[in-house]
């Protein structure tokens, strides 16, 4: 009976050891803007939680279109507060999507590589021939200012008339 207990303890110990060796690394990546356009600048922020100490974080980016991909770039991310960040300029006008993956170099010299690459679809660049408003903070409805101006002038005329009257 004692032997069985010892064996169970050893097995449990080994299981715990195994779990601690396979320390999980969780990466949460955020890309701004959500729907980037080709040849635009994006900000990539990686929130990384790992039991190991991180030395460097790299991001690999490949821009592609339907029938080809452009050679990938391996970029070092900068530590900003508790996250890793990079402002990256997408290069190709003709790209329709890009793929990225994160690689982490730990202080003990070991690596973590994301095997699965995440694909981000690029929003077709607007011709910008005219602003129809709606999707940008700076883009107000055309003519809206004119309505405000007319209302203000009418108000001034009305108050003046009342004063004169």
């Amino acid at each position: 009976m004692k032997k069985i207990k010892i064996i169970i303890m050893i097995i449990l110990g080994l299981c715990l050891l195994n779990n601690s060796v396979l320390a999980e690394t969780i990466i949460d990546v955020n890309i701004e803007p959500d729907e980037p356009e080709p040849a635009s600048q994006i900000t990539i922020t990686a929130d990384i939680s790992s039991e190991k100490d991180i030395d460097k974080v790299y991001i690999e980016i490949q821009e592609c279109k339907e029938d080809l991909c452009f050679q990938k770039e391996n970029i070092t991310m900068t530590k900003v507060n508790s996250n890793y960040q990079k402002n990256y300029q997408l290069e190709k006008d003709e790209s329709t999507y890009f793929k990225y993956s994160i690689a982490i170099l730990f202080t003990d010299g070991s690596w973590y590589n994301q095997n699965e690459k995440t694909e981000v679809t690029l929003k077709p660049a607007s011709g910008n021939g005219g602003t129809n408003g709606g999707d940008g903070e700076d883009k107000n409805t055309p003519g809206f200012e004119l309505i405000l101006l007319i209302a203000a002038i009418s108000l001034i005329i009305l108050t003046r008339r009342k004063r004169l009257g």
């Binding site: 490949q62 080809l68 990938k72």
Partner: protein
């Protein structure tokens, strides 16, 4: 007498130039070296006498995967005495094990065995042959190793599938001309 010597010298020079010209032409042709998946080093010159399609690719490149389905058609339609395909992974961070896993994945997922020559680049092949920094890039070398065709983007074997641009390059004509 002097005239004769000059004439003979002139003829000798012309004949020598002609010979060297012929010799250069026969030796003309590109060469590059790559590592195979089992660690051997192979060169383009090893395949002289055959048309060689050099396919520059990487495992992360989705269009390269489609290109391989077209390469498979070519590989099956031509004799090994006439044509060889060499797919060289241009991403120097990808190793033989990853490429082999990719081949296994391709076989399991699409039922297509990628059974031609696969290799890895040390950076020199992509520098020399990659077009516009894009993959897939296909290069076709004639039987003497001369670069006859180079294009970035998907090329098809014989028929342009629906949804592809009408100007998609069809390789069959190019290969048949070289054979």
């Amino acid at each position: 007498m002097k005239k004769n010597i000059f004439t003979i010298l002139f003829l000798v020079i012309i004949f020598f130039n002609f010979l060297t010209g012929c010799f250069e032409n026969s030796e003309e042709g590109d060469n590059f070296a790559f590592s195979t998946l089992n660690g051997d080093t192979k060169q383009l010159v090893d395949y002289r006498g055959k048309i060689v399609i050099l396919d520059l690719w990487a495992t992360w490149c989705s269009p390269c995967q489609y290109q391989m389905t077209e390469l498979k058609k070519i590989y099956e339609n031509y004799s090994r005495n006439d044509l060889e395909i060499i797919s060289v992974d241009v991403d120097t961070r990808e190793d033989a094990q990853l490429i082999q896993s990719f081949r296994n994945f391709f076989n399991q997922t699409y039922g297509i065995e990628l059974d031609w020559i696969f290799g890895m680049d040390d950076g020199s092949i992509s520098e020399k042959y990659m077009k516009e920094g894009a993959i897939p890039t296909l290069c076709i070398f004639d039987k003497k190793g001369r670069l006859s065709f180079r294009e970035a983007g998907i090329c098809v074997y014989l028929e342009i599938p629906s949804g592809f641009p009408a100007n998609t390059t069809v390789l069959a004509h190019i290969i048949n001309q070289l054979i």
